[in-house]
Symmetry: C2
DNA sequence: ACGAGGATAATCGTATACGATTTCCGGGAT
DNA sequence: ATCCCGGAAATCGTATACGATTATCCTCGT
């Protein structure tokens, strides 16, 4: 049988809609998500909305308080730092594991993204674009690590960072151009393939940790 | 006002009950979770049960198929390997970060757990007990890493491994005694504190990767 | 005996209804 | 003017109801 439309269930549609709105900032951190209001807005009953929000809760994108309701999570400085530290560990390892597998075309694509990022550094500040390019750069690499669960975890961490809308917008001006240089470095090492795997991992990890250091000025991580 | 009982919501109670049953094996891998049956069993309506299962789905403990229902996830060999690889990366880093923070009492507790594990290795096989002790050993250490999100992620990975009921039961006989020795090694390094942090991390990571190598005999990880 | 087709049962998906809890706001006492 | 209290409005939590989809099994034709 030809599946007629493969209509997603309503709860799935609601889930995707809300999630998208959180990630792109329409529902910013702290926004209250009122079940009945969303249900009216999306023209469904409150039941599938509740299911959608439960899933978002389990992904740490929203917090649901009993008899009070859901709101989009806000990351304080400490939580943000911990999240990026986690990102550094996973991305570093994924980069290491991707090295022997990544095709030349993907490295070229990453180079293209980094070049676009460099042009951003010169031109006027466009945080959303920088965010998009930076995330895309890393994903182009780590997606070639042969571990689905690792890749998925990285995607989720990035989702939370996107939702918090904080990473790039609080970078000191010169952090971006340093980051671009570090990216070039990583690409060079990926291409050459003559570096110790452990050293490549250390290099990628440190690049991510630098994002914390740039903001906090503290050096306790490493 | 004194909160009378702080009764958890039904959906929360259902969530905890199902989760517990999955983790301790009463709902083994592949078990179908029928909404109405669970609702009858726990004496609630199907609505809170659906919410509970959505959360479990988002935690990767169950898979929910449209118009078909939920079943407890089964890990094939590849997924299991990827999960343990992830565990190795996170646990290794968490151990490194715990080293300067962990109190002597916690190290002593971990030693006690490892000694109990050694006694298991001599006596008759009791997989559940070995599993419990092994997980407790690692948690005693990594819980002192100063990164809540990292610790939570490790707990979740262990939950999935517990639910899959596969780690210890398929270890070759002598793997356990090697693991016990490696644990001693980690504790020694934690106490001494004279090892390079990076070296401690490598050591803890390798210990976890050895669990994969022991089962698969392949050496592609490292 | 075996496979195709259809009736029947089991189960899911969502809407609606309503009681329970919390939040908000205004009036009265100090 | 300020604080406390009570009631109304908003919102959540869960039960029930029922149509939609899928699975099961029996019957019939070959």
């Amino acid at each position: 049988m030809q599946r007629p439309q493969e209509a997603p269930s309503k709860h799935e549609a609601v889930y995707r809609t809300i999630r998208e709105r959180i990630l792109d900032g329409r529902y910013g951190p702290g926004t209250r998500l009122v079940l009945s209001a969303i249900a009216r807005d999306l023209e469904v009953s409150p039941v599938p909305v509740r299911e959608a929000i439960r899933r978002l809760e389990a992904e740490n994108l929203v917090t649901f308080e009993r008899n009070v309701g859901a709101r989009v999570n806000t990351l304080d400085d400490e939580a943000w730092e911990q999240l990026v530290e986690m990102l550094a560990v996973l991305d570093g390892y994924a980069t290491r594991r991707a090295q022997p597998l990544i095709p030349a075309a993907a490295i070229a694509e990453a180079q293209r993204l980094n070049d676009a990022l460099r042009r951003c550094a010169d031109g006027p500040a466009d945080h959303d674009e920088v965010m998009r390019l930076h995330r895309a750069f890393h994903r182009t690499i780590y997606s070639h690590a042969d571990n689905e669960y690792l890749v998925e975890s990285l995607d989720r961490v990035w989702d939370r960072i996107d939702a918090s809308r904080v990473l790039v917008s609080s970078w000191p001006a010169r952090r971006l151009s340093s980051a671009v240089d570090e990216h070039d470095d990583i690409l060079r090492n990926l291409r050459a393939g003559d570096l110790e795997p452990a050293e490549l991992e250390r290099c990628a990890r440190q690049h991510n940790l630098n994002a914390i250091i740039a903001i906090q000025g503290r050096g306790r991580l490493g």
